[in-house]
């Protein structure tokens, strides 16, 4: 077992000793081992044992008795409700904006697509007219009434 492992094991055992978990014999054996390994460790352990008669936890007796003021929990719940409320309001706003956005974009898209569709229909009409003109050739010029009737229909 290397020195680090021994150090760790002895510290663990000293904490057990401070918690009163060792028998008298175990404590004596531990003392011998610790003194042989590092005498300062035993001195530190003794200091820890002496504090306020209860070891180091005894030092904290007063701090342990401290309580937050009686209103602290109420203030926390107030903050939670306020933040939860504002978060919900924000989510609602985002949802509203999203819905409006989707509606607006949807409407704009419908208008644009309809416009494009109409534009392409007009192109098709124009090119059909040209083809008809080429097909009918001079006859077309001789039949203005028929032309008029045809184009109106297209």
């Amino acid at each position: 077992m290397d020195k680090n492992d021994t150090n760790k094991r002895l510290r663990e055992r000293l904490i057990d000793a401070q918690d009163g978990l060792l028998s008298r014999d175990e404590l004596e054996r531990l003392e011998k081992e610790v003194r042989a390994h590092d005498p300062q460790l035993w001195k530190d352990h003794q200091w820890m044992m002496r504090q306020s008669g209860e070891g180091v936890p005894g030092l904290f007796a007063e701090m342990r008795a401290e309580q937050p003021d009686g209103e602290a929990i109420r203030r926390f719940h107030q903050r939670r409700e306020a933040e939860g409320g504002s978060q919900m309001a924000l989510e609602h706003l985002v949802w509203q904006l999203f819905r409006r956005y989707v509606l607006t974009v949807g409407l704009v898209l419908i208008v644009l697509l309809t416009g494009l569709q109409m534009g392409s229909s007009e192109d098709v009409s124009a090119s059909s007219r040209d083809e008809m003109t080429r097909y009918l050739g001079t006859e077309q010029q001789q039949m203005p009434e028929l032309n008029h009737w045809l184009y109106e229909d297209l």
């Binding site: 510290r11 663990e12 904490i15 180091v56 701090m63 342990r64 203030r75 926390f76 903050r79």
Partner: protein, 189 residues
């Protein structure tokens, strides 16, 4: 182990509401002990911790006690805040004089026993001088009286390692207290 789901039903707000009066004072004490002399507000950080607990309650799987899980969230919240605070102090070094911990020293004449109030102030100052991990382990064990198993759960360490680190942290606390002027008491064996 951590990923196992032990709790089939998610934690409800109502269940948490019932636990808050019991948990809040203990978490507050831990936070207060951790941020003493830093300028960070213990109440704000305690509230931040509990807000996170409510927000993340669906993640609680019951593999540790609810208190341990809450404590773990509070611990991470406080350590993050302390880390940010240290970074800010480093960046805004010129204002450090205003935020430097207000160290307390024992009366130099020192032969008389310190009265309890002085001793408490000394203890807080010494704690504030410890590294965060030393302060935290002492807080968990000596202030809060948590079991070694609970501390091992919160810190994700083996119980033996917790004990060994606790001993080291207590040694450092002793050194700080003596540096601040606490009478070392008799060193006789």
């Amino acid at each position: 182990m951590q990923n196992e789901t032990h709790r089939p039903v998610p934690l409800t707000e109502h269940e948490l509401d019932r636990q808050v009066p019991d948990f809040y004072p203990r978490i507050f004490r831990m936070v207060r002990s951790m941020v003493f002399n830093t300028g960070l507000d213990a109440e704000d950080l305690t509230q931040d911790s509990f807000l996170k607990v409510y927000k993340k309650r669906h993640l609680y799987n019951g593999s540790s006690s609810l208190y341990t899980w809450t404590y773990q969230i509070a611990r991470n919240t406080v350590l993050d805040a302390l880390r940010r605070d240290k970074i800010q102090r480093r960046i805004f070094w010129w204002s450090e004089a205003e935020t430097e911990p207000d160290d307390y020293r024992a009366n130099e004449s020192g032969d008389e026993a310190l009265d309890r109030r002085e001793q408490q102030q000394l203890l807080r100052t010494a704690m504030a001088r410890l590294a965060d991990k030393d302060r935290l382990i002492i807080t968990m064990r000596d202030l809060e009286g948590m079991s070694y198993d609970e501390i091992a759960d919160v810190e994700n360490l083996a119980v033996g390692t917790v004990k060994s680190r606790l001993f080291t942290a207590r040694q450092r606390l002793k050194d700080e207290l003596i540096k601040l002027g606490m009478h070392p008491e008799s060193e006789e064996e």
